[in-house]
Symmetry: C2
Subunit: 217 residues, 2 copies
């Protein structure tokens, strides 16, 4: 059995080291889950004895195949629940993360799969993050950062890297949502800001904002 706390560590390792494949430092995990390095050491030892993680003292952790699958399942649940909350319960995309953090720990494979079917097998969550399938796989994101797009070209907003409520609310306020068509009008070298145009308006976005917007072209 994988406990709630273990699941959170698995997720952290998964996210920090490319799907848990590369070694992650104790400190990085501690920072990510807002705990202390000593707590992390304790837990990764536990994950290692449970064969969920590969751990060599002082050399970081990565996930075993079993650990990777367990982590992907938690992420799958998290993202499916986010879809449910937004599409079925009419939550806004900036309100769902904390609730999904709780729902992702509910244990029932039948539940996940029935939820998946009920939602008609979504491939992405409300923030554009891909939803792993039952085997933990998903097709790599093909969207590119808006700063890589040539002036004059356009694309569809399909993924936001930062899905904190602060950033999402910035997007809400400025009427930017997933699925919007965005054209890059101008790049300003002085501060790396961009002038963009949507179907309804023209606006300037800062470098910080631009770094978090990904379009599919």
């Amino acid at each position: 059995m994988v406990t709630l706390s273990e699941e959170n560590y698995l997720k952290a390792i998964y996210h920090l080291g490319k799907q848990g494949k590369e070694a992650v430092s104790t400190n990085a995990i501690a920072e990510h889950i807002e705990s202390k390095a000593s707590s992390v050491t304790d837990m990764i030892k536990k994950l290692a004895t449970k064969n969920l993680a590969n751990y060599i003292k002082y050399q970081g952790v990565s996930l075993t195949e079993e650990g990777r699958l367990a982590a992907a399942l938690v992420i799958r649940k998290h993202r499916l629940w986010e879809v449910f909350l937004v599409n079925k319960l009419n939550f806004s995309w900036d309100e769902v993360h904390d609730i999904a953090e709780q729902l992702e720990h509910v244990k029932s494979l039948q539940l996940v799969n029935k939820l998946d079917a009920f939602l008609e097998y979504p491939t992405h969550d409300p923030h554009g993050d891909p939803i792993p399938d039952k085997d933990g796989n998903y097709s790599p994101i093909k969207s590119i950062n808006i700063l890589e797009i040539d002036t004059g070209k356009e694309g569809t907003l399909s993924f936001v890297k930062d899905s904190s409520d602060v950033f999402l609310r910035y997007l809400n306020k400025n009427n930017l949502a997933l699925g919007d068509t965005i054209k890059v009008l101008d790049f300003e070298p002085f501060d790396n800001s961009l002038t963009i145009e949507t179907t309804t308006k023209k606006m300037i976005i800062s470098k910080e904002v631009a770094q978090n917007l990904y379009l599919s072209v």
Copy 2:
């Protein structure tokens, strides 16, 4: 903040003493939640200091108004999730309890209320149990046990007292479901069994079964 464990104790006290209004014994709680009396004593002390329970040593526990409301909220969540699982995800009524035991602890008032709306404000869960409203109230059950019904009279199956999977599967096997019209044909004094008739068949049910079937007439 009310922890998961506290919530389970609140529910137990609520269920064992008429909505937590009358005092419940330590042993009764221990048996109900499958733990030990000493653990119960510890927890009810904690509930008392948190003003959720009224506790006098050696004299059992009841719930304060605050405790009663907290318990009702957990039960509300449990039953709403059961409705969701059966009505939306197509689970069978004998499969939902354990999953609802997990979902009932998810903390978000917004979630409960949006779920309630999504389900179109159901008044009863898949086993006929009433769903408390936001204030913890529900109209008393007006259904009566099938053994109280006069021979020749009929009613609609609207509540099953035992909602263990074993019993529910017995009902499944015999094609008895909530909403079915059932007529009482005969009462057998020797073993208290009943001969009943549904729209599709005639059958004999034991006293044990009869005690758990409630009809509205």
